[in-house]
């Protein structure tokens, strides 16, 4: 179950907000490039586009961050709009979302599903189960 599958299946009934946050593995930080080149990366690692992207540096301004977010949005290839966290990382911090994370928020504004911290807690299949359960409860 990929994010693209989820979006395709549910986007008419669920609002998807992709939120681009601070780069998890920039070249000038905790880069995974060397491990990736050696083929030693666990399969779970990789950004929103589903693979380890190399050559990305940690954006230092909001303009740089928007530019990289735009590249990421293009790589996602399913037309979903990406929103960009500000340089103070306020939203990322409020949701403890680094390096990646999934949530489902109900109609009342409360958390219905809180996924674990990525990469190992990033489970689109779990989000699907939560969406199915929530939508069926809504019907009932």
């Amino acid at each position: 179950m990929s994010l693209r599958d989820l979006y395709t299946q549910y986007n008419e009934r669920v609002q998807f907000l992709v939120i681009y946050i601070r780069e998890a593995h920039p070249e000038d930080g905790w880069s995974l490039g060397k491990l990736s080149r050696l083929g030693k990366l666990p399969g779970k690692l990789g950004g929103l586009a589903g693979h380890v992207k190399q050559g990305i540096y940690d954006p230092q301004t909001i303009e740089e961050r928007r530019k990289v977010a735009g590249m990421c949005e293009t790589a996602l290839q399913y037309g979903i709009r990406t929103y960009v966290d500000e340089m103070d990382d306020e939203v990322m911090t409020a949701y403890a979302a680094m390096p990646d994370r999934l949530y489902l928020i109900g109609l009342d504004g409360r958390v219905v599903y809180a996924g674990g911290q990525g990469p190992f807690g990033f489970k689109p299949a779990e989000l699907k189960e939560a969406i199915d359960a929530y939508l069926s409860q809504e019907k009932g």
Partner: protein, 62 residues
């Protein structure tokens, strides 16, 4: 302060610090307003209250 993406150690330290503050099932989700990759089309989480459930997908390119 060390950036959370500087090393595995710094990322783990960041996670240990902020994980206890993450919203849990049943909590009111923290509201926010963000703009798209062009700095336009501002969206607020609360815009969808009473209209549609919202899936939040956090991540980066790497």
């Amino acid at each position: 302060m060390t950036k959370p993406n500087q090393s595995l150690k710094s990322q783990r330290a960041w996670q240990r610090r902020y994980e206890p503050l993450a919203p849990k099932v049943g909590d009111v989700a923290p509201d926010f307003e963000l703009r798209d990759v062009n700095g336009e089309n501002a969206v607020r989480l609360s815009d969808f209250r009473g209209k549609k459930p919202v899936a939040l997908v956090f991540g980066s390119f790497t």
